[in-house]
Amino acid sequence: MSIPSDNPYLSDPDVLLMLEYQKGDKPSFEALMRKYYVRVFNFILRIVQRRDAAEDLTQEVFIKVYHAGSAYRPQAKFQTWVFTIAKNLALNELRRAGKTPVSLDAHFEYDGDEIPQQFEDKNSLSADEKLVQKETARMVKDAVQSLPESQRIAIILRRYEDFSYAEIAESLSCSVEAVKSLLSRAKETLKKRLAEYVKI
């Protein structure tokens, strides 16, 4: 089954990699995985806030991409498609877990050993600066987590994945105008919640 040559997504190099994988070229699939794995992992982690769940769900995303290979037809940018799968899995996990709140002060656990939530700043901050940065990160996470689900996902896609409004709309299955409204309300909430830190 050939893709029509006027398909607008054939200009996306990641779509072409996926089509190469569809022909049986597994290295193309691995190239896609290397390119997107960390991004998808962090996207899911920002939503579910649990590292173990984020690891499992990221694997699930790529298992779905792998199995979709034979029937794949580019109907969006590859990035939009992958993050839509990730979004759906993350939201399903939240619902399955009953939206159990996670303490943002807790460190992630990995193999029983606690690790910091973030990697240390490689710019050799002083101890005070590191504390300020850690506190700022905690405030930011609290503020983003306080947003309603759709606003939170729109903010994460815009701020951390640099999605355009059109791509966010596609991922959330809504209009661009709806995305403008979501981001406007989300940014206003964030401005108010972070007001203590942003006062000029």
Binding site: N42, E55, Q59, H67, T136, K199
Partner: protein, 167 residues
């Protein structure tokens, strides 16, 4: 544009997603409104603060884990579908499929033709004698009509003989 209108649009203005005319109206307003400029700066600062929530590295070896997980989990219908997806459109299989289809169609038509012939022969055996003779001589009746136009046969008195037979 009043300040409320401008401040409502500032989040989208910062993302450069407003129509050009609205952008220009806001820029004009901002040049003369300190309160809205401060509001814009607060939006920018809170947006920049989100940078502090940095990425985390996933557990190392995720590609190896993926292949191990996959091999243990692929259900057999998916394996069959993957197998076909990698083989169904090979030239050899297409050619074999076309040949098989041709054989099936020719075989079907041949069988149908044979059955029709058998049915016709059975019908003929059931005709009354007079009708059967007409059917058997249908060929001659057609030729007789043509023979009328041949002068040589008139000279040989063939036509007169045929007319006698017919009468």
């Amino acid at each position: 544009m009043n300040c409320q209108d401008v401040q409502n649009l500032l989040p989208v203005f910062l993302d450069n997603e407003l129509p050009e005319d609205q952008k220009q109206d806001i820029q004009v307003h901002l040049t003369g409104c300190n309160a809205c400029r401060l509001e814009l700066q607060e939006y920018k600062r809170s947006w920049q603060m989100l940078e502090s929530w940095t990425d985390v590295e996933p557990e190392a070896g995720y590609i190896g884990r993926f292949w191990a997980e996959l091999s243990g989990r692929t259900p057999w219908p998916i394996k069959v579908r993957i197998w076909f997806g990698q083989r169904v459109f090979t030239p050899q299989l297409i050619a074999a499929t076309v040949v098989a289809v041709v054989f099936v169609v020719v075989g079907f038509l041949s069988v149908r033709n044979y059955v029709q012939i058998q049915e016709t022969e059975i019908l003929l055996t059931k005709l009354p004698a007079e009708e059967a003779e007409v059917v058997d001589n249908l060929e001659f009746v057609s030729d007789y009509e043509l023979l009328e136009d041949l002068d040589v046969l008139e000279d040989m008195e063939v036509l007169e003989t045929l007319e006698e037979i017919e009468s």
